[in-house]
Subunit: 267 residues, 2 copies
Amino acid sequence: MHTPSHTRPLILITNDDGYTATGIRDLARAVSTFADVVVVAPDGPRSGAACAITPTVPVYYVGPYDDLSLDGETIYSCSGTPVDCIKLAMEEIVPRQPNLILSGINHGDNASVSCHYSGTMGAVLEGCLKGVPSIGFSLWLQHGDWYEKEPIGEDVMTAIGALCQKVIEQGLPEEVCLNVNLPSISKFRGWKVCRQARGRWSGEWASASNPRVDGRHFWLTGSFIDLEPNASDTDFAALRSGYCSIVPITIDMTAYNAIEATNQLLL
Amino acid sequence: MHTPSHTRPLILITNDDGYTATGIRDLARAVSTFADVVVVAPDGPRSGAACAITPTVPVYYVGPYDDLSLDGETIYSCSGTPVDCIKLAMEEIVPRQPNLILSGINHGDNASVSCHYSGTMGAVLEGCLKGVPSIGFSLWLQHGDWYEKEPIGEDVMTAIGALCQKVIEQGLPEEVCLNVNLPSISKFRGWKVCRQARGRWSGEWASASNPRVDGRHFWLTGSFIDLEPNASDTDFAALRSGYCSIVPITIDMTAYNAIEATNQLLL
């Protein structure tokens, strides 16, 4: 008997590095053996886009790009942010409700507080806001370059595919999505569920030269400071031990344990 | 004896509507009686900027604009996002560590899940990430226009000033900032500490005509659906009752009550 293709789960994939990025191809390859895959990703880099949306100009999409499809996935580019990609895909592009939304693999980690700035994680939060199980994948670049050095390993690919299948089968808790960071693109040591490390960025501006005006131009830069270097249950602790960190993230930003203190403040 | 001005608290103010917006002037006026005020705000509208940062081009600031200062505040514009404004102000502009960071008053509410997309709240989260007590103010526009209709009321101004003074004196819990929404610009009925309402945006794209290409251009739009219309402890419940909602927001996005379920998923 012929099995119609829509009995396979549908996975929607985006990223913040653009629709031609290697990381998005790897994600598509990791899941295309068991799922129909639609890619709707920005038409260029959108690093640091967070949950930004585009209210001031119309957003458009282009595709499908059949010549770019290596594993049967359907690929579109979108002029908007990663969140726009999810919003537009869900309403105008995908043929049915996705069973899973993926974002990444980002070229750079989104552990600790960096998830606030991440366009990769913005798309994941948007998927969660739409009620679809959603996972973001990012790579910790502590050893320097990535794809310039090594391709994704088969065991990493297999582990990502298995995680995605489990999430499709079992779902995720309501209002919760996953922030996954990988310590290596080539080797898989195991998963570790953890919490977001407390940290902050420091020394964030470098003077930029400019021939036309005075010296008040600045490049955003900076170094990350892990404020809990000795903790064992954080995402950075997992990464330092060679494990892939999985932080369950909530879209409910309420600080429930601060409600009483806030009431006291008003007395 | 002469009291040096730096014995007054320093308040840094930004927004996502731009440095000339009426709402930012109102905030400056509400606190300038007891604080030194520095405004560093985007050079144009940045609605929907969320926690976005600008990694691809240099960011610059212009000012101070002495002619715009109505209440003694020092005003700068910045080419970046609201988060860039806070980052640049903290490292390059303010004369000392601010005692408080304010953002708004936004022309439109940031209650429920809208706080994820809000540039106003992005700046507040950034202030919190920098360890500075931070508050975002937004106006619920259920009755249509705002400043076209009425100026800010004296009792609203007084209430905002009093809240800011309390936060400066007593601080906020670690990793917590405040998301304040006002149901009226002219009348103050009271504060209500609450949680973020569960909700979602629906019907988010309207076709945009375009003379050059086919019809796949879309304006971001949509209507908000409160998924808990009968709840009494949410921000929208407070607003509907005429109260100003205060939601304590955390920068730790970990879903602690989902860690066990996530571990189970991996078995």
